[in-house]
């Protein structure tokens, strides 16, 4: 089995490097035959990687411990669905999974571009194959999951990392994140092709916007799911800790978001061409940097289970990508259209430019904060850690400003707005913001930051709703269409714009949820004897019982806590401590009772061995559920914008 896997990987490596070479030469010569061969090589490369992943899955499911990776993460006691996902539970497998996703994207790209943008395709495919060469090299060499297990071959294995077995979200969070990370390869490759072809003039971003939106949607989903997983599993009551690996996923999201906006400005007004290009390249570089951070063990993080010796190889790849990008940009600077200077600060252009500056500042500070421990150690030899206060200090004002601009941008016209126009366009939405803030104050918001958040979020949502409503109303009055019909046709005509608006609403919901949950979290803690109660805010928690359950792969101690709020019985909750055979520390399973208003979150700190008392941490987290709802809204918006229509299929051919 291991041998078949190795063979497929070596074939993929050969096909990828051949594809890169043929692609680059076809790009130079413009040969149609070269392109056909490149496309064939790309599909064959993808097929080999998919095949290798299939071999690994087969080995995992059949518990073939002669394959080193299976001996490393497999276990007869592990349930089937966990065995399947243990493909990405450890480094070597996750790099293979990475290759698999690249294979899926490559296939998608080849199939979707049949007969389109043929002049750009060879370089694009060549770049994708060059990235593929690197990853298959990693799989074939430094991170080879298909090694032979040294004899004697064990009859059972340790099973995957316990944290990965703890929650269903772990099944979906890594694939989403990887789909986001890996997918950035496609727009990057298209950007590189545009540069190599000297097509970085006006409008060059248009064909790649959709290819950027797809990974952007996955990345958004992956980041929030990661927070959700941390919240449901790690037991410290929060969803975001500015952990280096969390930051690593946020960084490309920030630049990709900035890119999507800059590209709009570039298409509509010919502005910021060079900047847009740099954002595109940086986004891909940050995905590589992020993987390096997660995989090299350079940073201390909750993800430190993925450290490995592939750091140096990754760094060489990162260096190659960075230097090639710099050279490509330097060779094309003279071609970048400077565009007309913006006419007025009271314009949509200005709002977009400020928005991009804020995103850049956000990216820069997160990057500095994340790498600062390295800088400090290199410069002064001391170990420091940069904590939440540092990040919060800038993330809060920057985030608020970005949400405010999310309203200003769409509210302002292109070009120039007069004072009266500004007042007319900004006035009613600002009033909407004030109403939301007043509502918040009436419901008990007493602090400046959450009130301000409600104000800017309400403003942005009001702008968005007006933007959605205006064309519908225009159709209803001009053409006498019914509401539903007018809405449907407005949607059909401005799908991408409408999708963007839905995403904006999702962002506003997320930001409000973050502000409320961060500002009004209540934490209680105590040791409760059997039968006794602990009161936190208006919740009364009674420790009823503790019981031990033996499962094949773990020993659980489950506490039963009777919950009542203001005298009303809410039933029981069952936080637990899990002892895995392979882990020295007990790992908690917090119990979360979710409602639209607040979550009650119980985390067991300790259970005394006779089960007579427990140490309990209690968190009351307001509005957290809305963060997960916001994710759904954002993904839905992204889907609307990306979903192919017959019209865009047709127009794609000429774009």
């Amino acid at each position: 089995m291991a041998e078949l896997g190795r063979l497929l990987i070596l074939a993929a490596l050969a096909l990828a490097s051949a594809g890169a070479l043929v692609g680059f030469s076809a790009g130079r010569s413009g040969s149609a035959r070269g392109l056909r061969i490149t496309r064939g090589l790309a599909l064959a490369f993808a097929a080999c990687l998919v095949g290798a992943t299939g071999v690994m899955e087969y080995a995992l499911i059949t518990h073939d411990f002669s394959v080193e990776y299976v001996a490393h993460v497999g276990s007869l006691a592990t349930p089937l669905h966990i065995t399947i996902v243990s493909l990405w539970s450890s480094l070597d497998g996750s790099i293979l999974f990475w290759g698999f996703i690249l294979a899926v994207y490559t296939t998608g790209f080849v199939l979707a571009t049949r007969g389109r943008h043929e002049d750009m395709q060879p370089y694009t495919l060549a770049t994708i194959m060059a990235v593929g060469t690197f990853f298959t090299f990693l799989i074939a060499g430094p991170a080879n999951p298909f090694g032979d297990t040294p004899a004697p071959i064990p009859t059972d294995g340790p099973g995957p990392n316990a944290l990965l077995q703890n929650h269903a979200l772990m099944i979906i969070h890594p694939p989403m994140l990887y789909m986001g990370y890996v997918g950035m390869t496609i727009p990057f490759a298209m950007g590189v092709a545009a540069l190599l072809k000297g097509r970085s003039g006006a409008g060059w971003t248009r064909p790649l916007r959709r290819w950027m939106l797809i990974p952007w949607g996955f990345l958004t989903c992956g980041i929030i799911l990661g927070g959700w997983w941390a919240y449901e599993v790690l037991g410290w009551g929060g969803y975001w800790a500015w952990d280096p690996v969390e930051n690593a996923s946020l960084l490309p999201w920030l630049t990709a978001t900035a890119f999507l906006h800059a590209a709009m400005l570039q298409e509509r007004r010919g502005l910021l061409a060079g900047w847009t290009l740099v954002l595109l390249l940086v986004t891909f570089q940050l995905t590589i940097l992020g993987t390096f951070m997660t995989r090299s063990g350079v940073f201390n993080s909750v993800h430190s289970f993925t450290q490995s010796p592939i750091g140096p190889t990754f760094l060489v790849f990162l260096a190659m990508v960075l230097i090639a990008s710099v050279v490509l940009v330097a060779a094309n600077v003279h071609r970048l259209a400077p565009g007309r200077p913006i006419e007025s600060p009271a314009s949509r252009e200005a709002a977009f430019i400020v928005n991009n500056l804020l995103f850049a500042a956000f990216t820069f500070t997160v990057l500095v904060g994340t790498t600062f421990p390295l800088i400090a150690e290199a410069a002064r030899g001391v170990k420091v850690s940069v904590g939440e206060p540092f990040f919060d200090q800038f993330a809060v004002p920057l985030g608020l400003a970005i949400v405010f601009l999310m309203g200003v941008g769409p509210a302002m016209p292109w070009g120039r707005a007069t004072g009266a126009e500004v007042a007319r366009r900004m006035g009613p939405p600002l009033l909407g913001g004030l109403v939301l803030a007043a509502l918040g104050v009436a419901l008990g918001v007493r602090d400046v930051l959450p009130a301000l958040t409600l104000l800017v979020a309400g403003f942005a949502v009001s702008v968005t709703l007006r933007d959605v409503w205006d064309p519908v109303r225009a159709r209803m009055t001009a053409k006498g269409e019914s509401l539903g019909r007018a809405f449907a046709s407005a949607l059909r005509r401005g799908r991408r714009r409408f999708g963007g608006q839905v995403v904006h609403i999702g962002v506003a919901i997320a930001v409000v949820a973050i502000a409320l949950s961060q500002s009004y979290q209540i934490i209680g803690e105590g040791v409760i004897d059997k039968g006794a109660t602990l009161t936190v805010s208006d919740y009364t928690l009674q420790f009823v019982d503790a019981r031990s359950v033996t499962e094949p792969h773990r020993e659980r101690t489950i506490a039963t806590i009777a919950v009542s709020k203001g005298g009303r019985d809410l039933g029981t909750m069952e936080p637990a401590l899990n002892n895995y055979a392979t882990e020295m520390n007990a790992i908690g399973s917090p119990a979360v009772r979710t409602s639209p208003v607040e979550d009650l979150y119980l985390s067991v700190m300790s259970i005394d061995p006779r089960g007579q008392s427990i140490g309990l941490r209690v968190f009351i987290n307001p509005a957290v559920a809305w963060l997960w709802i916001a994710m759904g809204v954002m993904v839905f918006g992204c889907l609307i914008a990306v979903w192919p229509t017959r019209r865009s299929e047709a127009s794609g051919a000429v774009a």
């Binding site: 003039g201 201390n300 450290q307 260096a319 330097a330 060779a331 600077v333 259209a337 790498t371 170990k383």
Partner: protein, 185 residues
């Protein structure tokens, strides 16, 4: 909008200014990450084995007296880093106390408390196995850093010449402790 002709190749109009700016930004980042690789926090542990144990001089919890590694020289030392907030330490401590009772005339056991408060430490010792050997307070966690302690508990086996022979991350298993202690003599 773009007046520049398309289809040209690098060479004409190559901007050295952009190249230099780009390299000035990217090269230091790469250098930093390269240094980061050699500073791997997880790999700092192994090099200490076989090397002289970093010296320390810390206050004893019981009477505030200063105890140094130097003053323990001549007898092998089992150095156990722990903390009150650490769950596995609770499981480990009673066993360490009983092992110290058994091996105490040949081996000096020392506990070093890491990132903690004195009153918490006293309460913890009362609750989880008592005081069979000296407990030192690592104010400012300097000693833990010198030893490269990554998590607690961590136990170092130091021979009578003051050389670290072994280390165990996480709670020490009974058989493991007796085996490693045997090697110290």
């Amino acid at each position: 909008m773009s007046a520049a002709p398309e289809g040209g190749r690098a060479g004409r109009g190559f901007s050295y200014k952009a190249l230099i700016i780009g390299l000035v930004v990217t090269l230091p980042l790469l250098a930093l990450l390269y240094m980061g690789l050699s500073m791997d926090p997880h790999r700092m542990d192994a090099p200490l084995v076989g090397k002289p144990a970093p010296p320390f001089e810390l206050h004893r919890l019981s009477d505030g007296q200063l105890v140094s590694l130097e003053s323990l020289r001549g007898k092998p030392v089992i150095l156990n880093f722990w903390a009150t907030w650490c769950m596995p330490c609770r499981q480990e401590h009673p066993f360490m106390v009983s092992a110290a009772k058994k091996l105490g005339d040949k081996i000096q056991f020392v506990g070093i408390v890491y990132q903690d408060k004195n009153e918490m430490v006293n309460a913890w010792l009362d609750a989880y196995g008592g005081r069979g050997y000296p407990t030192l307070i690592d104010a400012g966690t300097k000693t833990a850093i010198a030893y490269g302690v990554y998590g607690v508990p961590e136990t170092y086996f130091i021979d009578s010449q003051g050389v670290i022979r072994d280390k165990v991350v996480g709670p020490v298993r009974p058989d493991e402790l007796f085996e490693l202690a045997g090697r110290l003599q």
